[in-house]
């Protein structure tokens, strides 16, 4: 049973990138990159995490804002990579 993508992404963001943020304050459609809430180091950490957790390979050109700006976008992107 593969891990729930949305839950896993949210937990990683809340615990590792946005340390100290309450789950209620992170809306799934909230822009994270364009607002500066998540910086590029956060994205690099997220990418490494997604690759190891879901066993996917993420190419350099895929880590732009279009795939990483919101929780919804990240989830859709990961799901498109899963078999």
């Amino acid at each position: 049973m593969p891990p729930n993508v949305r839950e896993t992404v949210r937990n990683f963001l809340l615990e590792d990138v946005l340390e100290g943020a309450s789950p209620d304050s992170l809306a799934d459609d909230m822009p994270l990159r364009t607002t500066g809430i998540v910086d590029s180091m956060g994205v690099i950490r997220l990418t490494g995490f997604l690759e190891s957790t879901f066993g996917i390979r993420i190419e350099a050109y895929e880590t732009g804002v279009e795939n990483t700006d919101t929780v919804d976008a990240i989830v859709a992107f990961v799901e498109s990579k899963l078999p």
Binding site: L18, E19, G20, A21, S22, S25, L26, M30, T35, G36, I37, D39, S40, I44, G48, E59, A60, Y61, T63, G64
Partner: protein, 516 residues
């Protein structure tokens, strides 16, 4: 090399190299020296017609590309100084910088018109028309200011470092000789133009007829894309902060790009973690690695050549080396007397590449200038010691400045910005260093206010330079204080779950052997 300026040196190259490539733009397009010459004339003409002349300052608020390089050159051709700001930073900070510097005009991009102009009522040049014939401008004097680079200030206000042509040319000349740059050199431009690493990236290749390969914001932060770019573009000289090289070593899949044409790999701005450096050295065995050191105020003032093979058992970072031949560097006590080898003292620099002063401040009022035996020395605020060979080892800071991605960050500037937040009554920042520098902000809401961590992060994203945004924000009812009423930083650090080896940057835990 006396009596010349950066634009004069570039113009000499244009005469003999007009059709050679000068710049590879961020989109991969190649631009010749003739193009660079014509476009810099276009910027110079447009600015001149708006009243810009020798001694003025011109703001540059524009994304990084070949046109921006032409603008920098055009500004200098007029005898004016360029003042680049971080196009990705919040408007407020940039406006403060440009207002402080009393710019006469600004070079912007299409978005510049959309940004709040605030108090800046100056002409904005975006994409000037080509001029029909080469501009016949008088040679700018070498005693003028070439550029003003703003760094984080402990008072909460950024400070403008004014560097003259004489200093800039002296530094570039040292780079050319040390890194053997010639017409075949292809130099990476990784740093943004408001960052002093860009001085080497741009003006070393462009004054010798080589080419500069501009790396855009997205590419530059991407450790997986960069190794391919280095190989495809045939880059010979790389210069960046260690962080991105460390990321390439750990995540760049370097084994997929084993062949490249690198001759020099230079890094500066912070300490290169030794394990990452070993890994990079194993992947890139051919080029010479250089550890360069120097604050924006002096540009590079010491250099250390990393050995070709690094012993596996080495765990200490490498020294920052010995003084470059354009300056003198000493390790001294508070009175300016050199300390014995092995003792820790202040790192001071005197010489040809040090700044004139901060913009708007008389040299006599710059606290970091120190008169020793009738000479003016710049106190870097860094601590160092000489090893047995005379090389200087770096021991961190005396004050609250920290480095991240090579950018200087005054914790006081972050605190000052957070204090302006409408919901906060009190703020304290601490930095910890466990291989990577982490900034922690502790904030106390005003009575009745309930800001969320995400709100506060968005606020930081909108008000602080990106490198300054805290990694972690903790909301407290009140800040712990010592018996004398000062913020109890030790107690704040204890609250952080960062392990026993963390050391707050405010603390120098071991004062023994320090003569500073």
């Amino acid at each position: 090399m006396s009596g010349v300026t950066l634009p004069t040196l570039v113009r000499r190259v244009v005469r003999r190299n007009a059709e050679r490539c000068a710049i590879v733009d961020v989109d991969g397009r190649e631009r010749t020296y003739a193009w660079l010459d014509a476009r810099s004339d276009a910027f110079a003409q447009a600015l001149r017609s708006r009243g810009v002349g020798p001694g003025d300052r011109v703001g540059v608020w524009r994304r990084k590309d070949a046109e921006t390089v032409a603008a920098l050159l055009g500004i200098m051709r007029l005898g004016a100084a360029y003042v680049p700001v971080d196009a990705t930073s919040p408007s407020r900070r940039n406006l403060r910088i440009l207002a402080d510097c009393e710019i006469a005009a600004m070079v912007g991009d299409e978005e510049a018109a959309l940004r709040p102009g605030g108090t800046l009522e100056v002409p904005i040049v975006v994409a000037p028309d080509d001029v029909s014939a080469p501009l016949d401008l008088p040679e700018p004097g070498d005693d003028g200011t070439a550029y003003v680079l703003y760094t984080s200030g402990s008072t909460g206000e950024p400070r403008g470092v004014c560097i003259g042509h004489r200093q800039a040319v002296g530094f570039v000349d040292w780079c050319v000789r040390t890194f053997e740059a010639d017409e075949t050199c292809r130099c990476s431009s990784h740093a943004p133009f408001h960052f002093d690493l860009s001085i080497l990236d741009l003006w070393m290749p462009l004054t010798v007829g080589g080419r500069v390969v501009l790396l855009g914001e997205e590419t530059g932060m991407d450790p997986r894309r960069l190794p391919a770019v280095i190989a495809e573009q045939g880059i010979t000289h790389w210069y960046s902060v260690p962080s991105i090289l460390a990321l390439m070593a750990s995540q760049g899949r370097l084994e997929e790009h084993t062949s490249n044409t690198l001759r020099s790999v230079c890094f500066a701005g912070e300490v290169f973690p030794i394990e990452d450096l070993k890994r990079l050295r194993r992947s890139w065995a051919e080029p010479v690695f250089w550890n360069l050191y120097g604050p924006t105020e002096t540009n590079v003032c010491t250099a250390y050549r990393i050995p070709d093979s690094i012993p596996e058992e080495r765990t200490d970072p490498f020294p920052i080396g010995t003084a470059c031949d354009h300056c003198r560097v000493i390790v001294a006590d508070a009175d300016g007397r050199e300390v014995e080898p092995g003792r820790v003292g202040r790192i001071l620099c005197h010489g040809g590449t040090a700044m004139e002063t901060y913009w708007g401040i008389e040299p006599s009022a710059v606290p970091a200038f120190q008169e020793i035996a009738g000479e003016r020395w710049y106190d870097t605020g860094d601590l160092g010691s000489r090893d047995g060979t005379g090389s200087i080892e770096f021991h961190g800071r005396r004050d609250r400045m920290v480095k991240r991605w090579g950018c200087r960050i005054e914790l006081g500037e972050i605190e000052a910005e957070l204090r302006r937040h409408e919901s906060l009554s009190d703020v304290a920042c601490v930095a910890t260093d466990r291989g990577e520098t982490m900034i922690h902000a502790f904030v106390v809401p005003k009575p009745g206010a309930t800001p969320s961590v995400i709100d506060l992060r968005a606020y930081c994203g909108g008000h602080l330079a990106r490198s300054m945004s805290p990694d972690r924000i903790t909301i407290l009812d009140r800040l712990p204080r010592t018996s004398t009423g000062k913020v109890d930083v030790r107690s704040l650090v204890d609250r952080l779950d960062v392990g026993g080896s963390a050391e707050a940057s405010r603390f120098r835990s071991d004062p023994r052997g320090v003569d500073a």
